[in-house]
Symmetry: C2
Subunit: 129 residues, 2 copies
DNA sequence: CATATGTGTAACCATAGAGTTACATATTGG
DNA sequence: CCAATATGTAACTCTATGGTTACACATATG
């Protein structure tokens, strides 16, 4: 039994990004940044939540690298940076590949051991020559 | 100002999956299921948390379709189903594409308006002494 | 310089969520 | 039928987190 942390053995991607995109408002912020740079105020005006709330979301997004900031005068221009999402995509892709591999193994297994108990039996799929 | 919900205009993927994979233990469970089916007890024994905790994680994972269960006798065999992750991958990919598009637009913009103030100037990246 | 503007921070609140222990519900095996 | 095994559920606790309001700061502007 692993007593410390999950410790999957598989490379565990940065926790932060997963948590960051778990919140719908933060995903919406990133979506809103798809068109290009926006100031904190502009972003906040898109949602029904207070500006401070958005400010904190932006801070968190910046912390995990999903957003870059550029201070221009008294305003701050935010722009999305999807780079950290590669971790998420890689993890998701690996999950899919794992399934595919299992299916291949299963197929191979079924084809190699038709019916030990009955030599006269035809293939398990019922499509014998 | 949108008063209801984020409402990004862009297709908003199922909230559930994002929340489900936000938890490191749940991701670890899915990773552990990469090799094939496992019973609830086997899964629980991999972590330093109580079995009920794992049970709840499994319930949530099943609710969002990331895991399938098959009751066999008194035990339950769980297996991963990465299908719902396509939503996540699509969203992530779209984010990346949005950035690429912005960069292309920027490049085009820079190339179309080299140096209005100096007709003799060559490409924008030149190193004028 | 005195204000208006654009933002971040601090202090609080309320709720969600992850963990725990105790107990209820199937099945299997004698 | 009864004890052991494999799980899920209920009832709680604690902490993380998203939101809010009030206030501090920096930069533009008349």
């Amino acid at each position: 039994m692993v007593t410390h942390m999950p410790e999957t053995g598989l490379a565990e991607p940065p926790e932060g990004v997963f948590r960051a995109i778990a919140d719908p408002t933060r995903r919406a912020i990133l979506d809103g940044l798809s068109g290009g740079e926006r100031t904190a105020g502009e972003i906040a005006s898109d949602f029904g939540v207070s500006r401070p709330a958005i400010s904190k979301h932006l801070k968190l997004l910046e912390a995990v690298g999903l957003v870059r900031v550029e201070k221009v005068g008294r305003e701050r221009r935010f722009r999305a940076d999807p780079a950290p999402l590669t971790d998420v995509e890689r993890w998701a892709a690996r999950q899919r590949l794992a399934l595919a591999r299992r299916l291949v193994d299963l197929k191979a297994h079924l084809e190699s051991e038709p019916f030990k108990t009955d030599p006269t039996a035809r293939g398990s799929e019922g499509a014998p020559p």
